[in-house]
Amino acid sequence: MNIFLLLFFIIWLGGWWINVRISNSQNVQLPRFIVPSLFGIVVLLMWELAVIGLQINPILLPAPSAIALKFSRSLDILWIDFVQTLVKGALSGYILGCSAAFLTAIAIDKFNFLKRGLLPLGNFISALPIVGMAPIFVMWFGFDWQSKCAIVVVMVYFPMLVNSVQGLELVDPSRQDLMRTYSASYTQTLIKLRLPSAMPFIFNGLKICSTLALIGAIVAEFFGSPIKGMGFRISSEVGRFALDMVWAEIFVAAVAGCLFYGLIALTEKRITFWHPSQQN
């Protein structure tokens, strides 16, 4: 048995033992993030040792150190790809799609006949397979980020629409009656009652769509893109067996996705502080 595998087991058992001790301890002063970060560090160390100890082919699984090295040497490319795919493609599509869905939801709420027409249509659009739509959108909107933005719009539109419509519908009837007794106008009721009470649903939609937008923008690049972008890079680097670069892109996508989601969740906490789900 080689020394790396021995270390592998020592670190595994050691990390396990420490984390169990921390989890069970009554010491409340330890920050909450200690257990998950310790877990992450141990997994990375085990990964590194296993790759070296078992001499795993870097095409199958590069060591974390190799990925980190590739990452630090390719910061410029990663940044270009990040801007191209996540900022230009995903974020613009996310903002466009979510706002369009939100405005549609308000229209549906105001004019009931739209509900019967637009909801099934939204359902239909969301059922379109992304792998079929992506090449068509490339034809329509060109190779650059605009076609990715369009794909993301199609992907996020329906979940956002359904959540917003539901939120606007589920208003407590006696609160609605209260507004009637004040003889409040439609707009007053919308702004002072229905939008605030729909916020938990709207944020659910925004959170679901944040991950969809990321996936959509990356996958859409597989069907035609300029020579930059995360999806383009992943597919071309796989072809060159440069899996360390693929992993570096995955790392960027994961970190950006988590940060984006976290930002939305944080905003949600500030805006819907009154909702039971936000209170301990």
């Binding site: 006696s174 609160r175 004040y182 002072k192 209170q279």
Partner: protein, 257 residues
Amino acid sequence: MISVSNVNLTFETNDGPVNALRDVSLEVNEGDFVSFIGPSGCGKTTLLRVIAALETPTEGKVTVNNMIPDDARKAREYGYVFQAAGLYPWRTVSGNIKLPLEIMGYSASEKEDRTRKVIDLVELNGFEKKFPWQLSGGMQQRASIARALAFDANILLMDEPFGALDEIVRDRLNGELLNLWGRTGKTICFVTHSIPEAVFLSTKIVVMSPRPGRITDIIESPLPNNRDLDIRDSQEFIKIAQRVREGLKAGQTEDVF
């Protein structure tokens, strides 16, 4: 002040029409404290909602301050207190009280003045900045009453406002409500299913019974307007309570179909 004559209201449901109110007539004078009492399904809440223009009667005539109810609603002639306090959880107590004032377009200084005044009236001083979910049920209901009082309508419609509270809190709020009624001279319509509450509070008790919802008895209370909780042990109080109970019983056995 409020006049209801020969009102019928039928709800169309999946199980066929439901006769929620049949041939209901009632006069409420200025400064009255009127209670509607009866078992569930007797139409007491429906009657209150008809007065508030939240329901439209199938037949009959209703006037509120010499207007049809919907005009009275638009003229903001009444404040309505719901069974569930229905405060907006994203607003503080004073934010909730300001809600009707914002909708009705009061100036900022007037909003402050009126809010302070009604907070004094319901004794919620010191809780202005709290959110509804930080308050007890009794306090929430007080805030809800303050909200209904804020724009100073001279009619107050209350739908079982203390129904969800325990008896000790309810007794206290009953006393406070009487006090408030005495000081403001409002006309109050009050829905309840508690006999002692109805007798203790009211100058006029409307006894109702179900299937179809109708009035079985209207009792003008001989009790003085100025009362405290001890009055509940007096002979007159017990006599009125008995009459209410008999009215409720009569409604139960009477076969109308």
